[in-house]
């Protein structure tokens, strides 16, 4: 089943409606990817859900990403949304600075965002403003760091009995 919408039409509709809020757009492997200002997230997600010609009303997933070397854009929150009616997928990215890791919660629009945001908080420490119960979900409550951040290595770097640096690890 092919999509009834094309990336160009959706992007032009979004640019016409939001303009400067959309900072960047690309199409990696055919999936429309837009970067928006984090402050406009709720507005954009709500609009593409209710706009009849788009009907992008299904939240597929939320993923956090850590880019420690990019100044003021250290963290990304990536949303995949899907229009089941038009069979159209879109990826929305919001970049956050490490000193202000706050983004609006989508729980008011999608109930399913609840645990997805909790998981992102659990692993990256990103705060979701307006979330009803933002506590750790998979990790232990007493954990005092966010394990998916890049500075935490998988294995203990101080160990000397596992020296396999020659093999690129």
């Amino acid at each position: 089943m092919s999509s009834k919408l094309s990336n160009e039409t959706v992007l032009s509709q979004l640019t016409a409606k939001f303009g400067s809020v959309i900072l960047d757009s690309s199409e990696p492997h055919g999936l429309l990817t837009i970067e928006i200002q984090p402050s406009a997230l709720i507005e954009v997600v709500k609009w593409i859900k209710t706009e009849p010609s788009l009907n992008i009303a299904f939240l597929t997933n939320i993923a956090g990403v850590h880019y420690p070397d990019v100044l003021d854009r250290e963290f990304a929150v990536v949303y995949h949304l899907h229009s089941l009616v038009n069979n159209f997928r879109v990826r929305i990215k919001c970049f956050l600075a490490e000193n202000n890791l706050v983004i609006e919660s989508l729980t008011s629009i999608y109930s399913g965002a609840n645990w997805m945001e909790r998981e992102t908080f659990d692993f990256y420490g990103i705060q979701f403003n307006g979330h009803p119960n933002l506590v750790r979900i998979l990790n232990e409550d007493s954990m005092d760091y966010f394990p998916m951040r890049k500075q935490y290595h998988l294995e203990d770097e101080t160990r000397e009995d596992k020296d396999d640096r020659f093999f690129g690890r």
């Binding site: 089943m1 990696p28 492997h29 999936l31 990817t33 009303a57 299904f58 939240l59 597929t60 997933n61 993923a63 990403v65 850590h66 990536v78 995949h80 089941l84 069979n87 997928r89 990826r91 999608y110 109930s111 399913g112 609840n114 645990w115 997805m116 998981e119 692993f123 979900i137 998979l138 990790n139 232990e140 394990p147 998916m148 998988l154 294995e155 093999f167 690129g168 690890r169």
Partner: protein, 406 residues
């Protein structure tokens, strides 16, 4: 008369003390009814559930962190352990994600072989789920019937890859070997015998008055709420939404096959059961179509940088030796990119969101695990229901702890 007064007085009194007394019940973490390790703290008034609080994460194994350290071919065994009732679907979903990233051109035969194995996995997954619904209603017989058939599916896996549960089947680019003659023999026997056993199982439960009374109306969810909670797979279809990744975004040549997507209406336990039953029949239909039209050709794509060369070549052929070394040491160049690929897993849309920065391991790999996403709707589904219905709802949602916790 005075006796009657006394009686009603007593009755009234007892109502006052028992009614409204709220007790707390721990369903899990290890409980025979949960079929996995996760906890539900139920607040109950007698049998009636007032609220439920979930705790998950008991078998969290940091798969996403592990994946950031492993070469691409070593991530396949991690995916086994997501929904371990249908590991081949997870394995092949991952392979297809990487193939999408590297732009591999996969032969038609590989697609058809994959479809056969994935649909076998779907049958195995649904058999477990549906027979366990039977067990939870007190009907053990059906379970014993179909577990013999599931065993045969595991024997088929064994013929392909040597493993049974955590299969690690296939490679990036195809399969490690072609289907063996024994596989063909066993698959033919399975296709012949399974429908009979399955019909017997179906006769035991589908129109069984007791089973219907127990499951109709247990743990319902409306289509609207299910979509709001990002349900996918049989649980969403039971609520009446015909979303199936195999039809919407066909992968592995699913567009070649003729099958229907069954939907329910009420989204209750009975509908989920019936949707899975029909999906098993449709899966059989797909396997028959794929097997009868199995194209000639290679069982692997031409991607030497990702597909381990045959051992005899490694010893005799310089190029093969280089590729072998590169793959084993994880020195294969990977294109920079970002890809989301999803397959219809046993429980719904199993997605892989992969970001590659060109390094030996993914920069970020996120698994969209259907269980994790729809299990959060569980309290809403069981509030106001009886404890026994909650147990049924849990087994009919097919919550697999491995997929839940990643």
């Amino acid at each position: 008369m005075s006796e009657l007064n006394e009686y009603s007085k007593l009755n009234h009194l007892s109502n006052e003390t028992i009614d409204g007394e709220i007790s707390t019940l721990n369903l899990g973490p290890t409980h025979p009814a949960t079929h996995g390790i996760f906890q539900n703290i139920l607040k109950v008034d007698g049998e009636k559930i007032l609220s439920s609080e979930q705790t998950v994460g008991y078998i969290h194994r940091a798969f996403e962190k592990l994946a950031e350290r492993r070469p691409y071919n070593q991530i396949t065994p991690i995916t086994d352990r997501l929904n371990y009732c249908s590991s081949p679907i997870n394995n092949m979903g991952w392979h297809m994600t990487v193939e999408k990233l590297i732009g591999a051109d996969v032969p038609k035969r590989v697609d058809y072989m994959r479809v056969i194995v994935m649909e076998l996995a779907r049958i195995a997954d649904h058999l477990i789920c549906n027979s366990v619904i039977g067990v939870d209603t007190g009907a053990l017989t059906g379970f014993t019937y179909v577990f013999q058939e599931r065993e045969k599916i595991y024997e088929l896996y064994e013929e392909i890859c040597g493993a049974r549960l955590t299969t690690n089947v296939g490679r990036i680019g195809g399969f490690e070997r072609d289907f063996s003659p024994t596989f063909h023999k066993k698959l033919k026997a399975f296709l012949k015998e399974f429908p009979k056993v399955f019909n017997e199982f179906d006769n035991l439960l589908s129109r069984n008055r007791i089973f219907m009374d127990r499951t109709i109306g247990a743990g319902p969810i409306s289509a609207q709420r299910a979509l709001d909670y990002s349900f996918t797979g049989p649980n969403l279809r039971a609520a009446g939404v015909d979303y199936d990744v195999r039809v919407m975004n066909p992968y592995a040549s699913y567009e070649d096959f003729d099958f229907i997507v069954p939907v329910g209406t009420e989204g209750d336990t009975y509908d989920r059961f019936m949707v899975r039953q029909e999906e098993i029949r449709q899966s059989l239909k797909i396997i028959e179509q794929a097997y009868n039209n199995l194209p000639e050709g290679s069982y692997k794509a031409d991607v030497p940088e990702f597909y381990l060369p045959p051992k005899e070549d490694v010893y005799n052929n310089m190029e093969a030796l280089i590729y072998h070394f590169k793959i084993v040491m994880g020195e294969t160049p990977i294109p920079v990119g970002e890809v989301y690929h999803s397959v219809e897993g046993g429980n719904g849309e199993l997605g892989y969101y992969l970001i590659s920065d060109g390094g030996r391991s993914p920069y970020r790999l996120q698994f969209r695990r259907p269980c994790f996403i729809y299990y959060q709707a569980y309290p809403e589904m069981i509030t106001g229901q009886n404890i026994s219905d909650a147990v049924l709802t849990l087994s009919s949602l097919n919550v697999i702890a491995g997929e839940l916790d990643a």
